[in-house]
Subunit: 228 residues, 2 copies
Amino acid sequence: MDPAKLLDILGNENRRKIIQLLANRPCYVSEISSRLGVGPKAIISHLGLLEQAGLIECSVDEQRRKYFNIANNMRLEVSVSPYSYTVTLHDVTFDRGKNEEDPVEKEIPPGEESSTLFLKLSSRLKELKKRQEELAQMQQQLQVEYTEAMDHCLDSIEEIARNPVECELLFELLKNETTLATLCYNLRLHPSIVNANLIGLTKRGFIEYGIKNNQYYWKIRETGVENE
Amino acid sequence: MDPAKLLDILGNENRRKIIQLLANRPCYVSEISSRLGVGPKAIISHLGLLEQAGLIECSVDEQRRKYFNIANNMRLEVSVSPYSYTVTLHDVTFDRGKNEEDPVEKEIPPGEESSTLFLKLSSRLKELKKRQEELAQMQQQLQVEYTEAMDHCLDSIEEIARNPVECELLFELLKNETTLATLCYNLRLHPSIVNANLIGLTKRGFIEYGIKNNQYYWKIRETGVENE
């Protein structure tokens, strides 16, 4: 799914509430409607949108009543900082049917052991949750370090750049390897000006170019600096 | 910030584009308006909303023109899976002014060394980015493991539960430690029914209760099971 589409979906409070309900348990339209205090017509329209996006799916029970449930695992990360805005969607599609052939599961003796197994699985779930929280904290810390390093980098760019164009180019390349065309577009500068400055920076050992997918990419130099 | 508020904000494409622009560089209203092809009136209204939410801030340049930039570091994580929907917002407020007193920075010799420093910082940024990607992958993997463990747990619940209410109670407690009141509300069951089943499950060693903030919380038992 396109992350922008997911953000559009999550931008609506009632849709968020529907997802919340379905993550708790599969539901009928009537249940969702009464829980949210929203008419079934509006609920059906939201459900249609969610289903079309692949976020939920619909099944039919023994009484031929339709119910909805979350279709898959998704993880959306939005990171906003003074130097970057990234939206990543990890669409964790995995084959849950595979579990049935899982040899580990077949080894489990049935009957009397199922209660022990349940408690073991429950503590495993708790562990996994804790690990998730730890990772989230590490990511937060990394984001702080990134912004701090970027602050230092900007100070450093101001010292080494000989004109505003060099300054802008180094800043752009710091964020991403980029083609000449993208640099011209982003900085709204004529290719001849950009090119002249790129050559100057290359000569002074700050940047270099590489080829990727048959295109020249400019980037900050990866090795140490020799003398000018 | 309330994560729901951030999702409301990000639910609009033009607001996302504005954040994208500002994460690239601070901008004037006129720049944003021309880049997005959207009238300044609409842009000002979006900017007002973003500023009010603390996502961006406004400064004035030497010509007394207002420009906007991203105010801080934020990290939003939305995780949707068949068994959980979580939205977490890490509001990484940190004092960027502190860097100026950073002793490490003061130790850096000025002038001739600044070019080496720049390349070092640039490779540090690259490392940090790589580490961020690694962590994101680990979290994805964890989410898959969590759903798999939850699948197994549900199979196991079906084996040990003696009636549908027990089944629902174990499922609820698996997701969270919960009070009696919340269980009654979530399952829409009378307290007497819920209580009777909680006592049954406690006697069979599956659940237990603890006290937190002067309230009784029910949870899956943390130690192994003795005989019934």
